[in-house]
Amino acid sequence: MKEFEQYRTNSLERIEKIKDPKELEQLKNEVLSRKGRLASFMTLLPGLPPEEKRSLGAALNSFKEEFTEKLNAKAESLNGVSAYKPSSVDITMEGFPFSSGRRHLINVTYDKILGIFRAIGFSIVEGPEVEDDHNNFEGLNFPPDHPARDTQDSFFLDNGLLLRTHTSPVQVRVLESSKPPIAVVSPGKCYRRDPLDASHSFMFNQTEGFLVDENIGVADLKGTIDIFIGEMFGKGIRSRFRPHFFPFTEPSMEVDMECIFCKGKGCGVCKQSGWIEIMGAGIIHPSVLESAGHDYKKYSGFAFGMGVERIAMLKYRVGDMRIFFENDLEFLRQFR
């Protein structure tokens, strides 16, 4: 222990006196190398009684730290750079190939859509993909044997149920189980009997949104959708609300936004119209509120539904809907 104390003071003093980098390197080797003095002190440790072992061990560690620090400081003052510059490693070689994964582009799009509505104050509610006629049609004011059902050609299942044709059944479920004020967005997969082509798929993703409270009207719908379009596609992009028909909204409309490809001048994408249709919307039909047990004279609401693939196609310029379901590696790896 004494011997070590002496060596410690001595070697720390020696650092101060050195003026030549080579000498410094020699000292470093003498002390720190594998067969150096510090190592030889270490070999003594196992033979010592536990208490001495502990105190010498601690002293050795603190010396090593102090010595290295001073040595580096000296080296820096002599060379102007660290003495430990690695010289034998080609740092331009690639690192270990940890790969980062990717979310699917549809889920990237969902994140954006849902993020916007969450920020406005909507809650996310999900529902099942296998539904009954009540939630998918009747509760949404689609009478049986009505031509309005033609636009939502369904897959029927052998268990007597059907695959939902839109995410609106969640509207029925939420309205039947909660009281206004309600503000909900509902994402999910939907199914319609459309053969697969560049703009149709028999499975697709939709985001439904609805708000029910006192005094809700077309202005609230427009305000909400305008926020969405602004956040999703860019501030200042114009929208227009074109009258349309859906059984579960009245008035019903389709929402167009100014074509983002030609800034409304007219191009191939918007078929020269300057507008691109992005969703259906409207004021919730009083029968929908009434059949869920709400007083439509007190409450009103708006609802909208958009195809997530369509939004993704516009936002990320994907020309063909089938690409989303092909799962080609080149596609899967592209989007972060």
Binding site: P97, G101, R103, P147, D158, P181, A183, K222, F241, F325
Partner: protein, 781 residues
Amino acid sequence: MKYSMNWLKRYIEFDTPHTELFERLSMTGSEVEGFKEKFEDMENVVIGKILKIEAVPDSDKIRYCSVTDGKEEYNVVCGAPNIKEGDVVPFALTGARLPGGMKIKKTKIRGLESQGMMCSKKELGMGADHTGIFILDEKYALGSDFKGYFNDIVFEIEVTPNRPDLLSHYGLAREVGALVRKKPNPVPRDEEIRGKYESPVKVEVRAPEACTRYALLYVKNVQNSPSPPEIREALESMGMTSKDLLVDISNFNLFEGGHPTHFFDADRIAGKIIIRFAAENEKCVTIDKEERTLTVSDLVIADEEKVLAIAGVIGCLGSEVTENTVNIAIESAVFTPSFIRRTKQRLGIDSDAAYRFERGVDPEAPLASLGRIVYLLKQYTKFESLGNIVDTLRSAYSHPGIIVKNETLERILSVKLEPERICEILSYLSFKCEKLINGDFRIGVPSFRAADMKHEYDVIEEVGRIYGYAQVEPKRPYIRSPAGLNPYFSFKEKVRNHFVSRGYLETLNISICDEDAFKAYGYTGDFTKVVNPLNQNLAVLAPSLFPRLIGVLVKNMKYNPSSLKLFEIGNVFGGKSETEVVSLVLYGNYFDENWASRKKTLECDLFTLKGEIAAFFDLTGNTAEFGECSEPFYTAGSACSVLLNGEKIGHFGIIEKSRIGSKRVPRSVAAAEFSLKPLFKCEDDVYTGYSVFQKASRDITMVFPAGVVSGDIMKTLKASAGRDLKSAVLFDIFEIPKGGTALTFRMTFQSSKKTLSDSDIDSAVGAVIKKLKERFNAELR
């Protein structure tokens, strides 16, 4: 529906250019999906007159004509038989373009120069008639553009299901009237039809719930003939071919007023007309020569012997009007939409009649249609006399009216409108609008809107769509309900992000798929099946996800990846159940190849996978147990089932190669699938504190006899090491040549109360060794 601009303009005059009209229609709910000018491709066809016709030697067909456009004379070779000197004809000048792309050039035929061409209707794109040149009326000015007199714009509107009243030219004229603020001209019709005698054909309605009104008009000794040009052209603009006057009048009335009628040959009706439901398996042959088998919910028009027509859908052979028809019976009825729709759908027949009846026709239409048809018959042909109209209507049309509260209107449309403006909009749409003293409105609904107008909101929409939503100022919504965070949804996002940051690519597969793809993995029975699949290869809902992920892998083998990690979160189906799962597929090495990975290749074997799964469970805060797994798609002995609180929630393992069904996958494929819901914990973690005292580690190496498994050893070790054991890992393993296996365990001890002394640790380790010796007959090495 398709509309002809010329036809529309028979009922309403307006100067609005067509593009502007289409824009306004689209912006008020009748989206114009496209339009085509009839003579879009035509250029330089003018009105010409034949001055002289000379014979050509050696030809009995071709003649040499001199044609003038009023300024110059042209020599034209022509082979048409129907021309004579003085005829006015469409004349294509040299350099003219005809529909279909044909260009007119100067040519020589039999040595004779031909400077232009006289055109047949077919050459002008005006139908199939190619028997001769289209001879025109003399009123047209020579040299003027042919298009100017004959052009038309045919446009298509997506008529929404709530607006059957728009499915006719007159219906659209009413709508256009509301936009240009004009009332359409009334259609000329015989308002009062007075028959001379009782109708010889009687009517009995046995299904009044499906046929709310049936009117029949007997016309005696009617002369059928070809249709006049105005009827023919109108029908041709709808893409129909003219047949004969009687059939054409029925169709003309349909596209004019929107009401389907049916003409029967009255002499082929046996006894009276009966409107009834079909008998089960009753058969009939429809006019498209298909035999149809009917059922008890199909409404038919029958006589006392046979089915005459499937009501509102299609007529049958045996009673149709032919060239020999003398007396006719004209059906003009109202059928209940749902019956017509069911029959139409079941039989797969799309007819113009069914399209309108299933949407609902004007209850007042039957007599109006008959009045119009009589007017047209009088105008275009001769008949001897009419019978009295049979009409089964029991009560005249009445609508109670709709009260529209001004408060509701303002709230829903978010605008304040002058009452006069509201009434103006509604009255141009043919509604009656009465202002009440309290500021509300009583709205009278015309018969042709009765099907759609049931509720105050229906009227509000009419006001809104004409007023225009563009004029409503957007308002940022104030949401009073707090945004619920949906912790399960956030949990799924966490899971998704976990796998993404571990290098997994997320896939998206369609849930409707081929049963065989799952049978290959040993799935049998209990598929949720699609009753009406698009095709037989897409007939079940996926019972699990990983076979689809392996499908994705196989498809991507074209890129020959050395490693691939895929995952997907989605629902799987069986019977009535729907379960959300996360599924993983790992292929080849865990890391992509490069110089560094070559030194430490990590194959995706069972233990890579097990480690991956353990990390995932750690993330979710669950302690899962791994048990034996006998799923047929895994290699025997290389798979585990995953249990949570004793309940099986999933499985993982190395896929049995033969299941993959592709030889292009050289390396091993690992897969895993778990239910997500059971892994979701609602409660937040609570801070438990941590020890500030020193940790100490000890290794022990013991030799165990064959057959002892490390999982059992670990359990015993943990149970016997005392409460200060912080962690234990299997650190090393090697086979002893003489027999048995040496296992090294590293145990880390830490107390929450004190720094453990050597003797504390020694005694804990001693207890472990003692227990392992006892329990497994192990020896310290």
